[in-house]
């Protein structure tokens, strides 16, 4: 039951539009790059300082001076450009990036996002996540519907320290997709994965959402 990681990424790729500048987070969001429809012009931004991220290099062609925000080796494209991290976050905060797809630990029914810190555990840092959700026009979260112990991750309010307040526009999990028209509207159930019933979904979700 439910969508695989690739299927979640494929669903998230339906958010892409021709001409979009997009920032993809680490994990499932990175997989979205594999599902950009043929012929669609989408420019991927890497927040360390690159527009026009290309695919991973062929073995033997890795360049240590050319990495993405996940510190993976990548390649450049004819459209690519490089810039400083301050120019990069100028793009992000300044609202020049159309779409950010990122992972989450928790999403609140009010659109709050928590994805960087679990108190009592070693904290690695927020990296660029707080800047992305504060500045990018549209924010889509992809995540497992429940944590490993079964706890709902889409819930009335985030309990973990926040990354941003009322910043999430759409939530795509392995079980369902929730979306809202704007940041004042409540989330509405848009789609369920094959085999998932509304009853299942309600049992595994504590956030309030509108029926389709």
């Amino acid at each position: 039951m439910g969508w695989s990681r690739d299927e979640i990424a494929g669903r998230a790729a339906l958010e892409l539009r021709d001409g979009y500048y997009v920032n993809l987070g680490i994990g499932i969001p990175t997989l979205v790059a594999n599902f950009i429809p043929a012929g669609m012009r989408v420019v991927l931004q890497s927040e360390n300082g690159m527009l026009g991220m290309g695919p991973f290099p062929y073995e033997g062609e890795e360049d240590p001076d050319l990495i993405n925000a996940g510190k993976q080796t990548i390649t450049e494209l004819p459209i690519s450009s490089y810039f400083s991290s301050s120019d990069s976050f100028g793009m992000i905060r300044g609202g020049h990036i159309d779409l950010s797809i990122l992972g989450a630990m928790e999403v609140g029914e009010n659109g709050d996002l928590a994805n960087w810190m679990v108190p009592g555990r070693m904290v690695k840092g927020m990296g660029g996540a707080m800047d992305l959700v504060a500045g990018v026009k549209r924010v889509v979260v992809v995540m497992e519907h429940n944590s490993k112990d079964g706890a709902p991750k889409f819930k009335p309010r985030c309990e973990l320290p926040l990354t941003g307040l009322n910043v999430v526009d759409k939530v795509i999990t392995d079980l369902a997709i929730f979306s809202r028209a704007d940041r004042k509207a409540p989330f509405r159930l848009m789609e369920m994965a094959p085999g998932v019933t509304l009853e299942d979904l309600r049992a595994k979700t504590t956030a309030k959402f509108l029926a389709p």
């Binding site: 890497s46 927040e47 360390n48 300082g49 690159m50 695919p55 991973f56 290099p57 062929y58 073995e59 062609e61 890795e62 360049d63 240590p64 001076d65 050319l66 990495i67 993405n68 996940g70 510190k71 993976q72 080796t73 990548i74 450049e76 490089y82 810039f83 400083s84 991290s85 301050s86 990069s88 976050f89 100028g90 992000i92 905060r93 810190m117 070693m122 904290v123 690695k124 840092g125 927020m126 990296g127 660029g128 996540a129 707080m130 800047d131 504060a134 500045g135 320290p161 926040l162 990354t163 941003g164 307040l165």
Partner: protein
């Protein structure tokens, strides 16, 4: 283009990393160190800082290196008292020192960190940003609401010393970075009271195209040609080469 090295000289040019740091290091100073992960880090200058034994450092750097390379070398020798960073997940020794209370840590969102450094170097005392509003990052900071959005006051950062890495530089201190190795280096070059740059290729003035300079020489007080670059790759990721003749 000329690739002359070794024969270049000038008042800003030093023989090696140790001599370039001579007189600049004191216990307790604040140092900015360029790079993102292990990409574009001043490898030679970090080694010379380790060998100097300078202690109690506050280091501003997006990341903290790995256990055996980059700033991890200065953590291992307990030379760092405090880090100002956005993400430090790749370093076990860092984790140990932080959890035991030996190391102080200030997290800044990556864009806020970049802008604090840019502002510091540009003479801007502070700025308001939406980043971090409503989060732990905003606690204790002045906030303003403009047109319904909450902005957080962040302050500019300057350092006693900035150490940066570029690809090519000339004896005037003009710098050109390569690909994503640019990252935090240009802002840090502007925010150091003294900035020391290391480059892979050091050329005479007149060699670099003035239209292509990323960091103008005014920001660089000392420069060296680095040697023995290792440039480790943290996440080597490749794809399969298509097989010749396959359809």
């Amino acid at each position: 283009m000329s690739t002359t090295t070794g024969t270049v000289a000038g008042p800003k040019v030093y023989a090696d990393a140790r001599s370039a740091l001579d007189g600049l290091l004191r216990d307790g100073i604040t140092v900015m160190s360029g790079g993102f992960g292990l990409c574009g880090i001043p490898e030679n200058l970090i080694l010379a800082m380790r060998d100097s034994g300078t202690k109690g450092l506050t280091v501003v750097s997006n990341n903290a290196g790995v256990d055996e390379f980059g700033l991890g070398l200065l953590l291992k020798t307990r030379q760092i008292r405090k880090m100002i960073s956005s993400y430090v997940g790749e370093n076990k020794e860092f984790e140990r020192q932080y959890l035991s209370g030996e190391l102080e840590l200030e997290f800044n969102p990556q864009g806020t960190l970049a802008e604090r450094i840019r502002a510091g170097g540009a003479g801007i005392w502070g700025f308001y940003t939406r980043t971090g509003a409503g989060t732990l990052v905003a606690e204790g900071k002045e906030q303003r609401v403009v047109d319904g959005d909450t902005y957080v006051l962040e302050t500019g950062l300057v350092a006693d010393l900035s150490i940066v890495k570029a690809w090519r530089g000339d004896t005037e201190g003009n710098l050109i970075y390569r690909k994503t190795a640019r990252n935090f280096n240009p802002m840090m070059a502007t925010a150091g009271r003294v900035t020391v740059a290391e480059v892979e290729e050091l050329v005479p003035t007149g060699t670099l195209d003035p239209d292509q300079i990323h960091t103008p020489g005014i920001f660089v007080q000392r420069i060296i040609r680095g040697t023995g670059y290792r440039k480790p790759i943290e996440n080597r990721t490749v794809r399969k080469r298509p097989v010749a003749g396959a359809v």
